[in-house]
């Protein structure tokens, strides 16, 4: 298979399969998780201002008092790469073209040089996060193969995309094909790994906030 054939495959059947598996997996897993239901709380609620599931969905993004000092890398590098990923994925013009083709929505892009910078910051932050995972006793203790695998599966799209746009390492056609392939791998594994937190974290925060709001504690 030459590089044009590979590119045509990943843009065609490859994408078809990856999006299909992603949709299938996500919908299946959402049903599987939330079908278990939750018992109603029969105790008399205490209502407090600013306390609700929805508040927590937003507020839990802020580090609680004292936590930033205890684990700065978790928060700072964590935010850097999440925000960086969002910028690179959603505000890069060629990606907006892809999204428009998939779901019909589009919005203005950021200048490509800014996205380039965001990609570099994202990769640097991700490397820091990996180093932290290896160096910190608690993270090291908790980490399994899945943690490192999902890190790689998230890092490679950013790396290959950056290399493609910058025309580094491999000829563009091959680099672009590898980039699209790496994104397809990410899509396929997302619903079945901890990457699924992309969807479940909202409900988790909501359940948490809701339970505590019942007692009048804004969390």
């Amino acid at each position: 298979m030459n590089e044009m054939e590979l590119l045509n495959w990943v843009r065609g059947p490859g994408l078809n399969i990856a999006v299909a598996v992603f949709l299938l997996g996500t919908i299946w897993r959402l049903f599987e998780i939330y079908s278990l239901g939750r018992k109603q709380d029969l105790s008399a609620p205490r209502n407090a201002a600013g306390a609700s599931g929805w508040h927590t969905v937003v507020r839990r993004s802020m580090p609680p008092p004292g936590m930033l000092k205890r684990s700065p890398v978790s928060y700072i590098s964590g935010y850097a790469f999440h925000i960086g990923l969002a910028i690179v994925v959603f505000l890069f013009a060629p990606h907006i073209v892809l999204i428009e083709n998939l779901i019909g929505l589009s919005w203005p892009a950021l200048p490509s040089q800014v996205v380039d910078l965001a990609a570099v910051v994202t990769m640097a932050a991700m490397v820091l996060v990996l180093v932290d995972r290896i160096n910190k006793p608690v993270k090291q203790f908790l980490s399994t193969f899945e943690d490192y695998f999902t890190w790689a599966v998230t890092f490679l799209p950013v790396l290959t995309g950056y290399l493609a746009v910058q025309h580094l390492l491999l000829p563009y056609t091959t680099m672009l094909a590898l980039h699209i392939l790496s994104v397809e791998i990410l899509l396929v594994v997302l619903p079945f790994t901890k990457l699924f937190h992309v969807f479940t974290l909202f409900a988790s925060r909501w359940y948490n906030g809701n339970a505590n709001a019942h007692k009048g504690v804004p969390v």
Binding site: N2, V19, I27, S35, G37, P94, V97, L98, T173
Partner: protein
């Protein structure tokens, strides 16, 4: 017409006298610091060298490549035919036709070491019946002609990679020359691919001039294309590249961005994945090229360019519409609902089977 004229004979035909020719040889001898007595030897040698024979085979083609060749400005097709090569067989350009034309080809094939130029793809399905000349299938004619050839130059994307006839569903089983060699259907010979739909005129003649001057295949890329013309992508030499780098894209034809000459990536330009000389050598004696005229590159010098999705879909967009996204979502819902039932049933039965804990249950 039995044998090709020697250089001496050729010069005589062009009106250069024997005397002038010998004077030329004496001057050449003294230039090369040879004794004057060498002049006759030089005359004899030049008298023996013949222009290389070239057989041009046209198969499943649209004649666009020949049309492009005739517009070459440097070297011109005339100077090519009359000065550099002996074009012994070419459907469009030769004066002869019918049996006489085929006879010319057979004569030229008697002396091995000729150059074969091919344009058009070669159909191989159903015994190659889909394109024949004088009752002979293209495949057979190519096989016979290549047997004693020194090298093959595949002119145009059809000859190089199969081109448009090979596009989905490829009803004729069209293939390029290199593919036929790889499948063992014709003898393996050195191949130079000069793709494009059509190739740039000066690229065709330039490649031939290189081969004739140096007598060797120029350096080629992984797809057999001369690096000096196909080494860079359009994107790498495109004058609109700064706009790509900044993210300034025309969204529709003739919108504000288009009129400002912004990058045509979103309008489907395949410049980044296409290797050719369009952005530097350009077309019509260097007048312009598609992007400069406001239309994205269609990637015509790459294999499978016709099947690479719409010309107007950006490289980052899917090549084909997603055909089973909806089906996958439904399947996911089915699995999910199935699991939901199983989960709830398991939980219910666990609840129903609940044994009220007593103090006895706290210890084994």
């Amino acid at each position: 017409m039995n044998r090709r004229p020697t250089i001496a004979e050729q010069l005589a035909r062009q009106g250069i006298s024997r005397r002038a020719f010998l004077k030329f040889c004496a001057a050449t001898a003294s230039l090369m610091a040879l004794p004057p007595g060498m002049a006759p030897a030089i005359a004899e040698a030049l008298g023996k060298i013949r222009r290389p024979s070239v057989i041009w085979l046209s198969f499943q083609e649209c004649t666009g490549c020949t049309e492009s060749l005739t517009r070459s400005h440097s070297p011109t097709v005339e100077s090519l035919i009359f000065d550099m090569i002996s074009l012994d067989y070419h459907h469009t350009l030769q004066a002869a036709s019918g049996e006489a034309a085929e006879h010319a080809r057979e004569e030229a094939m008697k002396e091995p070491g000729y150059l074969v130029l091919v344009d058009g793809s070669i159909p191989i399905k159903d015994g190659g019946i889909y394109s024949t000349i004088a009752g002979i299938s293209n495949l057979q004619m190519l096989k016979d002609t290549v047997e004693n050839a020194a090298a093959v130059v595949s002119i145009g994307t059809c000859a190089a990679f199969g081109g448009i006839p090979m596009a989905n569903p490829n009803p004729t089983g069209a293939a390029g020359v290199q593919a036929l060699m790889d499948q063992g259907l014709i003898a393996r010979k050195p191949v130079i691919n000069v793709p494009g739909c059509p190739p740039i005129p000066a690229v065709i003649t330039g490649v031939l001039a290189h081969y004739l001057t140096f007598g060797a295949i120029p350096p080629l890329d992984a797809l057999g294309r001369p690096l000096n013309f196909y080494g860079d992508s359009i994107h790498d030499r495109c004058y609109r590249r700064p706009f790509y780098d900044q993210g300034k894209f025309a969204k529709t034809f003739d919108d504000e961005g288009a009129r400002k000459g912004w990058c045509l990536f979103e309008l489907g330009c395949k410049g980044p994945t296409t290797h050719n000389a369009c952005a530097t050598t350009k077309w019509n004696d260097g007048t312009s090229f598609p992007i400069e005229s406001g239309h994205g590159c269609i990637g015509c010098s790459e294999p499978n360019f016709w099947d690479a999705g719409s010309f107007y879909k950006a490289l980052s967009a899917p090549a084909d519409p997603l055909s089973f996204a909806a089906g996958a979502a439904v399947a996911g819902a089915a699995v999910g609902v199935g699991m939901s039932f199983m989960n709830r049933a398991k939980k219910s039965s666990a609840k129903a089977a609940h044994e009220t804990a007593t103090l006895k249950d706290l210890e084994k």
